[in-house]
């Protein structure tokens, strides 16, 4: 088959809602796009361990600490599922980590914000994980098989993440005035950056059309953002949290909430390394990677020794 025929078969398969599997022929651009998307998704899971890990030693009770530890551990596991899914496309783990360290690869800009108070852990679990879940539920139907299957596994494990976050917020909102103010302050700081997680407006999104045609993306940025807002308002009302947007209003005609405009300048700044903790996140990742070099070195030496022993035997 020539390239045009291959491409036709590929598109027909995608159109028929059949998954693309690792050994199938696929357009170069499809492979490149997915490697970029899956690896950046993986980096986000791993970098996301930092803002939450920041509160592990200061969680208010032993139970909260155990829960947070379990959640951070899950995020590391999710990074692993995703790196493995990307590796099925022929890229190595080392290349991906290198791309992160050399700033050729990005990660979710939300993790460039600091976790200043305990309630930030609640806000992240509730809002950041909810937003991630809305996106990931949609990606369970993405056209690349290994990515779709990783999403199914991840969504199943994420459900406790948002619940524990909401539980922290609910508990604080039933507490003292100071606790209520702390919870509200976290939402005030995190709400807009969370809305940015869904990416630019559809009209400004460069890759959208092709990614929809290849079914890498199944729903547009704006549709997913709207879905998240609609479901979150009820949850905020139930515990007395005010979402910091004066334009947030139910629109009977549309059957959705209207909301205010996002500060896209801040989004661009944060995505291109200018977020409040951007440098800290990458520096920490690099440092831990370098500090782990002796472990990798020891494994290499041990492997070589085992091999030469086998050859001698």
């Amino acid at each position: 088959m020539d390239q045009a025929e291959e491409e036709k078969v590929f598109q027909e398969r995608v159109d028929a809602e059949e998954k693309i599997e690792p050994k199938d022929w696929m357009p170069d651009k499809y492979r490149k796009t997915l490697i970029r998307q899956i690896s950046q998704h993986a980096h986000s899971e791993v970098i996301g361990m930092q803002p939450e890990g920041n509160w592990l030693t200061r969680a208010p009770t032993l139970h909260r600490k155990a829960v947070l530890l379990a959640k951070v551990q899950d995020e590391g596991g999710h990074g692993l599922y995703l790196y493995s899914a990307a590796e099925t496309m022929g890229v190595s783990r080392e290349e991906m980590i290198d791309d992160l360290h050399e700033e050729r690869a990005k990660y979710a800009s939300i993790f460039n914000y600091p976790t200043l108070t305990w309630s930030d852990i609640g806000a992240i679990g509730w809002l950041v994980d909810s937003a991630a879940i809305v996106n990931q539920i949609s990606l369970q139907r993405t056209s690349y098989g290994p990515y779709a299957r990783a999403m199914v596994r991840i969504c199943k494990e994420e459900s406790f993440h948002q619940r524990q976050g909401y539980n922290i917020m609910m508990t604080l909102m039933r507490g003292s005035d100071e606790q209520k103010a702390m919870a509200q302050d976290s939402v005030d700081r995190f709400w807009w950056p969370v809305l940015m997680m869904f990416g630019p407006h559809d009209s400004d999104s460069v890759h959208s059309a092709q990614n929809m045609k290849w079914k890498i993306k199944r729903q547009s940025n704006d549709d997913l953002r709207q879905k998240f807002i609609d479901q979150t308002v009820e949850q905020a009302n139930a515990i007395g949290i005010t979402l910091p947007d004066p334009d947030l209003k139910w629109n009977e005609e549309r059957g959705h909430y209207d909301f205010g405009e996002i500060d896209w300048e801040e989004f661009r700044r944060s995505m291109s390394g200018g977020g409040p903790c951007s440098r800290l996140r990458l520096a920490h990742h690099r440092q831990v990677h370098e500090e782990g070099e002796w472990v990798r070195e020891a494994m290499r030496v041990y492997e070589n020794k085992k091999r030469s022993n086998q050859e001698a035997a």
Partner: protein
């Protein structure tokens, strides 16, 4: 009688999008032959769209007798499940 062939474990993907699932094992001289035998033995009724053959000796497996040390600590971590957390009545889904 001594066997000159090796044991292979066979995994079948029943349709695109699903994981390969272990279906059984068979003897073969090499990987290519294992695939051919697996086709004849395990996919006579269009059970699959893809076969994996893995040398049985290459599979690392935990034992049921390891259960205690492997899985025991998980039983006292109910907070890993969403059902562990109560929601206010007004919240229908989370």
């Amino acid at each position: 009688m001594t066997s000159h062939t090796q044991l292979y474990e066979i995994f079948i993907r029943s349709q695109r999008g699903l994981d390969h699932k272990h279906v059984g094992s068979l003897h073969a001289d090499d990987a290519e032959q294992a695939l051919q035998y697996a086709r004849d033995v395990y996919t006579r009724r269009s059970e699959g769209v893809s076969i994996w053959a893995v040398k049985s000796s290459d599979i690392a497996a935990s034992q049921e007798s390891d259960c205690g040390s492997f899985y025991d600590p998980l039983d006292d971590k109910p907070y890993r499940h969403a059902s562990h957390y109560d929601l206010p009545d007004e919240v229908k889904s989370l």
